[in-house]
């Protein structure tokens, strides 16, 4: 599996997710600086967590306009896989690869805590090895994770079964408890929880590991 991790100024989970990928695939991903203008040929593009451009203007808004994002768009439109984690999810909504927006948490505070996610869509390359209704333990750490979509948009994405993960106990006020969302075809996934922080669970493999491993098996 060839993986690229996009690094924006202000990304801060880029190294963590790179290590997670290396751990699962045995090979470190390519780290792609946001100003990159040449094409890179990979199976999966990861937009990591953090505070790209300091979250100025709106989280993800400026990163979405980086030169590298044109390639990410092309890659996604050609059916390539894209995973946006936390700040990466915010970038995906800003650039329009996913519908809706991520607003400040309902409590207006940053929240860092373990949460339970319910898998609600398994027909994606990210979640194929999970079963519908299965619970995953993957932590969240964000200030703006309150997912929102207009009524008709929301019913459209629900009808299309685009919701991949829902919170069991909604920590941030997200509409319909949405924690993770894919596009219609399922090759683009945005999620607020951090799978790279769930590589181990006690002495066993964590649910984040399982997610990355699912991806690898799908691609291979």
């Amino acid at each position: 599996m060839r993986v690229a991790v996009i690094v924006f100024p202000g990304s801060n989970c880029d190294r963590d997710v790179a290590e997670a990928i290396a751990q699962v695939t045995g090979k470190p991903p390519i780290m792609v600086w946001h100003r990159e203008t040449t094409f890179f040929d990979v199976d999966l593009v990861i937009l990591p967590g953090g505070f790209a451009y300091g979250d100025y203007l709106r989280p993800g808004a400026m990163a979405a306009r980086s030169s590298v994002m044109r390639h990410v768009l092309d890659h996604a439109k050609a059916g390539g896989l894209v995973l946006g984690i936390c700040n990466g999810f915010q970038v995906l909504t800003e650039i329009g690869l996913l519908p809706g927006a991520l607003l400040p948490n309902a409590g207006m505070k940053f929240i860092c805590k373990p949460v339970k996610l319910k898998v609600t869509r398994t027909s994606t390359p990210f979640t194929g090895s999970f079963t519908k209704g299965q619970y995953l333990d993957i932590p969240v750490a964000h200030h703006d994770g309150n997912y929102f979509a207009q009524k008709d948009e929301l019913s459209r994405l629900e009808d299309n079964e685009q919701v991949v993960f829902r919170y069991e106990n909604n920590p941030n006020g997200s509409i319909n408890d949405i924690a993770g969302l894919s596009n219609v075809s399922g090759n683009v996934l945005g999620m607020m929880p951090h799978p790279e922080r769930a590589m181990v669970h006690g002495k066993t493999r964590g649910d984040g590991y399982k997610l990355f491993n699912t991806l690898m098996e799908t691609i291979r």
């Binding site: 100024p9 202000g10 801060n12 989970c13 190294r15 963590d16 290590e19 997670a20 967590g49 953090g50 505070f51 451009y53 300091g54 979250d55 100025y56 309902a106 409590g107 207006m108 505070k109 940053f110 929240i111 860092c112 805590k113 932590p139 750490a141 200030h143 909604n170 920590p171 941030n172 006020g173 951090h194 790279e196 922080r197 590589m199």
Partner: protein, 739 residues
């Protein structure tokens, strides 16, 4: 009037220099300074920069040891943790600005301490905060808590360094002066550490990072004076932080460090460009000439005075090897940071500033550093505090008292706070504030080793007896590291006191330092870095003396990490250490009986060492399931912590010859509570006997109640109260913040 003319008497007074100091300055210069020079001298001679009241006493700390790579005097202390790795750490106060503007004050405190650490070549891997607020009923407290916590989170979360631990207390003594002490721990390679000595003449001085603005001018002077009713007017002196710039600055500096282009590097902290350039020149034994027209500026028409005294954040000064300018610039340009050559080192031993074609300052370096004033201020020994006799206190329902203690502001769960901190970014956090462990534990990246960190001080002890209190702060830090499975190595500290010109306050300071020094010496726990914050007073009322200790230890293998959340039904509870039932200055005396100021518990360092050695062995031989150090609230509160963290009930023993309140809530030192699986008991008892350690049965892990004699409470009910206090308290301001 021009800044080049000599200052008026009023201007001299405004700069905080005493008449004697001004005279001495003129004598050393051989003339009167101009206004620019006066500004520079006044910040360098401020308490905050010169440590003029504290220096002679700080010399009492032991600062060397087998593992010490770098002691006090640099930006941070460094210890060797083996395998070529070094841990760099320091704690620093941001008290004055945080009281005036809590969000920015706390945020820039976090930013500043991180710069102290990465300046030395380390990647910051952990942040901690020791916070002291006024009483909850004080009208300012709530908004200060909200602002400080948001500021710490806002900065640390964005930069991407986990905030893994800390402490938080409330006391009316902090109503007018809160304390925000931030600690940062970083990881470096022992063979690539960077220092601040600007060695060599003719080398380029590079300015990097954010532009210089008019914020924070005279911050250091503000931090060297008391507050009064007009404190709000000092708001413009508080700096404004930008964690996004800091994040890029960390990455760019680490990238530049890897090139080998750097001779010396220093962050611009308190007193900005002034203190960074003077310190670098002084340590390198050179002079410095700066062209102020080249300094990147955020605002138009800045004067030399403003540029030199600005405390704009996220700026660094770097001395480059000749010929590396272009490559070095490219790195900062890539990270979209301002970068410019602003001057060079000279052989004059002087600080020369040129601005708009004029020399606006020409000062010798020595009077600003080594020859700065140093005072042996008069101090008064504290009167010995009266003893408190436990027998004189009334008998009370022990479970009711326990509940009151567990729910008091100092003890209640701080979940509301730490859930706002990213505790896991970087993926090396092993134990954080949520983990029920006496120390925070952060893995040394890519290894099975870890750093253990703890922050401690019991101000009510220091207030009653500064010598004992100082000793206790160090001992408790040491004990917390032992109880989390680590070997304690060294400390940093942040000494927060009132006005040192008052002999009683100076007495607190001197005695606390001596107590700390004694404990550090006996426990082989040297001081490698630190910070002093004096003048924490408002309208003449000083804070409780608060010498915060930040202890660092090494965990050899992650298998040794232990906390107090592992107790299982059927385990036996054993108390390590001797109990006399000492209630003087205890939490029980304060919260239940309303008594304070009595003699705090004695700290016997050889006993501390011996008991610690035993607990360490017990952990390494896997003879215990949970370990907790005994501190505030004694045995009963430690047991309650363990019950809550392990989600189990307990039956606690009472003592035949001691009143319940003395046995359960006494705060004798050098004690630990262990949860022992019954099949390991024999082995553990033998070990205790061999080590001559008092090892006493204290209860059993059973059911889902905490039970003492006939009294009991459900652990679930206690949890509700314990978790509830801070949330309820904070949500009063946010009104409808509930989700």
């Amino acid at each position: 009037m021009s800044n080049l003319s000599t200052p008026t008497p009023q201007q001299i007074a405004e700069h905080g220099l005493s008449d004697e100091e001004y005279e001495s300055l003129c004598e050393q210069l051989g003339r009167e300074p101009n206004l620019n020079e006066l500004g520079i001298c006044s910040v360098m001679w401020s308490e905050h920069c010169s440590y003029k009241s504290s220096r002679i006493h700080l010399a009492k700390f032991p600062t060397t040891g087998k593992r010490v790579i770098c002691g006090p005097g640099e930006n941070a202390g460094i210890i060797d943790v083996g395998d070529g790795d070094a841990v760099v750490f320091k704690m620093e106060s941001h008290n004055h600005p945080s009281f005036i503007e809590p969000y920015q004050g706390a945020a820039t405190g976090v930013g500043g301490i991180m710069r102290d650490v990465f300046t030395m070549g380390a990647r910051p891997i952990a942040l901690l905060n020791a916070l002291r607020f006024g009483e909850p009923d004080n009208p300012k407290t709530r908004s200060l808590v909200a602002g400080v916590v948001a500021g710490i989170g806002g900065y640390g979360n964005c930069v991407g360094v986990p905030t893994v631990g800390g402490e938080m207390n409330f006391d009316p003594g902090y109503n007018g002066n809160i304390l925000v002490n931030a600690m940062c721990v970083g990881l470096a390679r022992a063979d690539s550490i960077f220092y601040s000595a600007a060695k060599g003449v003719g080398n380029t001085i590079l300015y990097v990072g954010a532009r210089t603005g008019r914020d924070g001018i005279h911050g250091a002077t503000m931090a060297s004076a008391e507050f009064d009713d007009d404190t709000e007017e000092k708001r413009p002196r508080v700096q404004v932080g930008d964690p996004f710039t800091e994040k890029r600055l960390i990455e760019a500096c680490l990238e530049l460090m890897a090139t080998g282009n750097i001779i010396a590097i220093q962050d611009m902290g308190a007193a900005g460009l002034t203190s960074s350039s003077i310190e670098m020149a002084d340590k390198g034994g050179v002079g410095i000439e700066i062209d102020l027209d080249m300094v990147p500026q955020r605002e138009d028409n800045m004067t030399a005075y403003e540029m030199m005294l600005s405390e704009s954040q996220e700026r660094m000064l770097i001395i480059l090897k000749p010929g590396t300018e272009t490559q070095s610039r490219q790195i900062f340009t890539k990270w979209e940071l301002d970068v410019d050559v602003i001057g060079r080192t000279t052989d004059t031993g002087r600080l020369v500033l040129n601005h708009k074609g004029e020399t606006v300052c020409n000062l010798p370096i020595a009077p600003l550093s080594d020859l700065a004033p140093k005072y042996d201020r008069p101090w008064k020994k504290q009167e010995p505090a009266p003893e408190l006799n436990a027998e004189d206190l009334p008998q009370r329902d022990p479970v009711d008292a326990l509940c009151r203690l567990m729910v008091c502001p100092d003890m209640a769960s701080k979940r509301w706070v730490w859930e706002q901190y990213d505790r896991h970014v970087m993926n090396d956090t092993v134990a954080d504030s949520a983990s029920s462990c006496d120390g925070a534990i952060v893995r040394i990246h890519g290894t099975d080793k870890a750093v253990a960190i703890s922050s401690d001080c019991t101000p009510r002890y220091v207030q009653a007896d500064a010598y004992r209190g100082g000793k206790q702060a160090v001992a408790e830090s040491w004990r917390n590291l032992i109880a989390s499975g680590a070997k304690p190595i060294a400390i940093t500290n942040c000494l927060n006191f009132g006005n040192p010109e008052k002999p009683e306050i100076m007495g607190q300071f001197v005695q606390a330092v001596e107590g700390m020094a004694k404990a550090c010496d006996k426990l082989s726990f040297p001081v490698v870095s630190g910070n002093v914050s004096l003048y924490n007073e408002t309208n003449g009322k000083a804070i409780p003396p608060t010498p915060t200790v930040g202890g660092v230890g090494i965990v050899k293998s992650l298998d040794h990490v232990i906390g107090f959340g592992g107790a299982e039904i059927g385990d036996l509870l054993y108390l390590v250490g001797e109990t006399s039932g000492w209630l003087g200055s205890s939490l029980y005396a304060r919260e239940i009986e309303g008594l304070s100021g009595h003699m705090p518990p004695p700290v016997k360092l050889s006993v501390e060492q011996n008991n610690g050695k035993f607990v360490k062995k017990a952990i390494q031989q896997s003879l215990v399931r949970a370990v907790h150090d005994l501190s505030d609230g004694g045995l009963a509160c430690a047991a309650a912590d363990m019950a809550l963290a392990s989600d189990v009930g307990m039956v606690l023993e009472t003592h035949d010859e001691m009143p319940n309140h003395a046995w359960l809530f006494g705060e004798d030192q050098a004690r630990y509570l262990l949860a022992v699986p019954s099949h390991k008991l024999n082995q553990l008892q033998r070990l205790a006997y061999k080590q001559h350690v008092p090892f006493v049965f204290a209860g059993e892990v059973v059911g889902d109640d905490i039970k003492i004699g006939a009294a009991r409470i459900k652990v679930a009910d206690l949890r509700k109260k314990w978790e509830g206090w801070l949330v309820e308290y904070m949500e009063k301001i946010h009104g409808n913040a509930g989700e």
